[in-house]
């Protein structure tokens, strides 16, 4: 049995609102999220804007502290880590963000940007070795060596994302948090970067935690998928299983709404639009948009229940209607007031 590299246990993050002329409410941006990532495994996190997936990424990178819960890395809880311990964690878990234009300092040269994490982590590495490692990584991610002295603005979007990847790898991490790593790239460049990420994973045995809204990309990269809605996990399971036989109405809506090539001329009916309110309410957060909602959904918050055959790989969903037969397609126009 492979041990979990990262285990997230009941992590929650609450933000308190301070608004003039309004009582201070609070938002549970992330609520009771638990999942784990094994060494060398790719886990995907899917959800729309406002689902809390980026907050979760920030917490896992410890750019934010969780309000409660544990984050076990190699068995050690780093949820409240500081100083040396946090530094050590960050050497092992690195990040690649969506917009590499703003992630790379405009006033630093590419070589220095890539070297920076190493220089920060290990001050005593001789310059010659740093340069050698930078050059080796640039070669590996497909950047011409002469770009070492260039500035980010001289690079294309794809090249900048390669710089971000090289930079994350220079400290030899064991896991990368990839927050929408290709969504800002053009299609023809996107496939290059996705292929590179998959190759690097194989070579280095990296674990990936990939956050994306594009289900097809998550299907391509990840083996396990966590779907979150309003900060809570609504479904989690093996990627292929979750996408081919989604059990939660929200997952089904996401799958149905994703554009496909084989559906020429078919306009898809989606679920109801998201309402603007962010404050937590009773019951299932998806209830106001759910085509299958029943009375119980509005009062009683569903918990994650095991579905499927069980075993080591779990597939869970949080819905009161799991016992009911699965509707064949959500493409059939749902009845009710949508």
């Amino acid at each position: 049995m492979t041990a979990d590299l990262l285990e997230v246990r009941e992590v929650a993050k609450t933000f308190h609102l301070r608004r003039r002329r309004r009582r201070g409410g609070s938002v549970r941006a992330v609520d009771a999220v638990s999942f784990s990532v094994r060494a060398g495994e790719s886990v995907g996190i899917a959800g729309e804007s406002g689902s809390g997936k980026s907050t979760l990424a920030r917490i896992l990178l410890r750019l934010d502290k969780p309000t409660s819960g544990q984050i076990l890395f190699d068995g050690t809880d780093i949820a409240g880590a500081a100083g040396e311990e946090l530094m050590n964690y960050r050497r092992q878990v690195q990040a690649v963000f969506q917009n590499s234009s703003s992630a790379l300092s405009p006033r630093m040269r590419i070589g220095d940007i890539i070297a920076e994490p190493l220089v920060v982590q290990q001050r005593d590495v001789p310059d010659k070795d740093v340069i050698a490692r930078v050059e080796e990584l640039m070669r590996r991610v497909g950047l011409p060596g002469e770009l070492r002295r260039s500035y980010p603005h001289e690079l294309s979007g794809g090249q900048k994302q390669r710089v971000a990847i090289a930079r994350s790898l220079i400290v030899d991490p064991r896991m990368l948090v990839l927050d929408e790593p290709v969504s800002a790239l053009d299609v023809s460049v996107r496939s290059q970067v996705l292929n590179l990420l998959l190759d690097l994973q194989k070579e280095r045995g990296l674990a990936y935690l990939m956050i994306a809204h594009d289900l097809a990309i998550l299907r391509h990269v990840t083996t396990y998928l966590v779907v979150i809605y309003r900060g809570r996990i609504v479904e989690q399971g093996p990627t292929e299983e979750v996408l081919s036989a989604p059990r939660h109405p929200y997952t089904r809506a996401l799958v149905a709404a994703s554009p496909r090539f084989d559906r020429v001329g078919v306009a898809v009916e989606g679920v109801a639009d998201a309402d603007a309110g962010i404050e937590t309410q009773a019951g299932c957060a998806f209830a106001p948009r759910c085509p299958l909602v029943i009375d119980r959904c509005r009062v009683d918050t569903p918990v994650l229940e095991d579905i499927g055959p069980g075993g080591t790989v779990i597939h869970r969903a949080a819905c009161h209607l799991l016992a009911r037969p699965v509707p064949t397609a959500l493409n059939e126009p749902p009845k009710g007031d949508l």
């Binding site: 391509h220 559906r263 898809v268 639009d273 309402d275």
Partner: protein, 344 residues
């Protein structure tokens, strides 16, 4: 020459160049396509392919003075928009051609209520109507794009709506004067997938209901598959392939279209181990183009592709392709199959 009725819009050999301090950028460099009445055309391309500049040129809101339309024709019902004065264009914009932009939060005025913004558009059409009547029409327009409680929401400001709702408001404003053509430039890029699906469904409904034409600009071939009758693929400022959506997606002729389709992961079908990789980067449009813009990245490129621009070849089914591989004098005796691996 053609048996078809006159198209609603015909763009012929459009050239829009940007004169910058650093040189001339050939943003649109000989683009041609047509849109029939009631038809939805998907204009697909990567960033820098010239698709947005084409739309701006059609509306004559290209960023002057840097942008100069140096050639070609934009025929709306046979009338060349490039010959029109700016005053005349003002009636075309909004009246005959409506436009929806990518980010509704940027295209709507944040300090005016959406009612005011709708009324502004309505007043242009009905200068003599009284205010109460216009307000009623504004509410109807909002209601039509699926905004609940429309009457009351006229008082709302854009920030009070979600992204999907804002885009509906933008659509309501664009549609309020019943244009013949709606240009939507990446209208769902800023939206979540569920809002995107609903918004595209709405566009489709409105188009069918009013017999309007749609020019949908996108980089996502999946969106095109679901909403467009025909597709035009742009690369390096030119349209490299056009045709009915079904044909383009199943039997693409241009190597670039073929590569694009193989480069994206799919949600169904067998999971690909590796995605097809297009070498290199989209072209720099600064240098004057010699030969085919895609040649440097093309697996099938031959000497001729690098020196001479390919002719646009037309087919019986309404498809066209600009590629030497398909030119009669270059093609093998049999018809060229879609993804030909061997060099002809």
């Amino acid at each position: 020459m053609s048996a078809q009725a006159q198209p609603l819009l015909e763009v012929r050999d459009l050239r829009t160049y940007l004169h910058l301090r650093s040189g001339v950028v050939r943003a649109v460099d000989g683009a041609s396509f047509t849109i029939q009445r009631g038809e939805a055309l998907g204009l697909v391309g990567e960033s820098g392919s010239g698709k947005s500049m084409t739309c701006l040129s059609i509306m004559r809101i290209e960023p002057r003075p840097a942008a100069v339309i140096g050639g070609g024709q934009i025929l709306l019902d046979g009338e060349n928009l490039l010959d029109k004065s700016l005053a005349e264009m003002r009636h075309v914009r909004g009246g005959r051609i409506g436009m929806i932009l990518q980010d509704p939060l940027n295209s709507l005025n944040p300090v005016l209520t959406i009612g005011d913004q709708l009324l502004e558009a309505l007043r242009l059409s009905y200068p003599n109507s009284d205010k109460a009547d216009l307000r009623r029409q504004a509410a109807e327009a909002l209601d039509r794009v699926g905004i609940p409680n429309a009457e009351a929401r006229l008082q709302s400001y854009p920030f009070e709506f979600s992204g999907g709702m804002c885009q509906r408001v933008a659509a309501a404003i664009a549609m309020v004067r019943s244009p013949d053509l709606l240009i939507a430039d990446e209208p769902t890029t800023a939206l979540d997938v569920t809002s995107q699906a609903k918004f595209l469904g709405l566009l489709d409904e409105l188009r069918r209901e009013r017999g309007m034409s749609l020019l949908l600009v996108t980089h996502d071939l999946g969106i095109v598959a679901e909403t467009c009758d025909r597709v035009a693929v742009m690369y390096g400022g030119r349209v490299v392939e056009t045709g009915p959506t079904r044909e383009i997606l199943s039997q693409p002729r241009h190597p670039y279209t073929q590569a694009l389709l193989r480069a994206v992961p799919h949600l169904d079908g067998p999971r690909m181990e590796r995605l097809f990789q297009i070498a290199g980067e989209p072209p720099s449009i600064r240098a004057p183009q010699v030969g085919c813009a895609y040649a440097p990245r093309c697996d099938f490129a031959k000497d001729r592709c690098r020196t001479e621009a390919p002719p646009t070849l037309r087919y019986a089914g309404g498809e066209s392709v600009a590629c030497w591989m398909h030119a009669p004098e270059c093609a093998p005796a049999a018809a060229v199959p879609a993804p030909a691996r061997s060099k002809p």
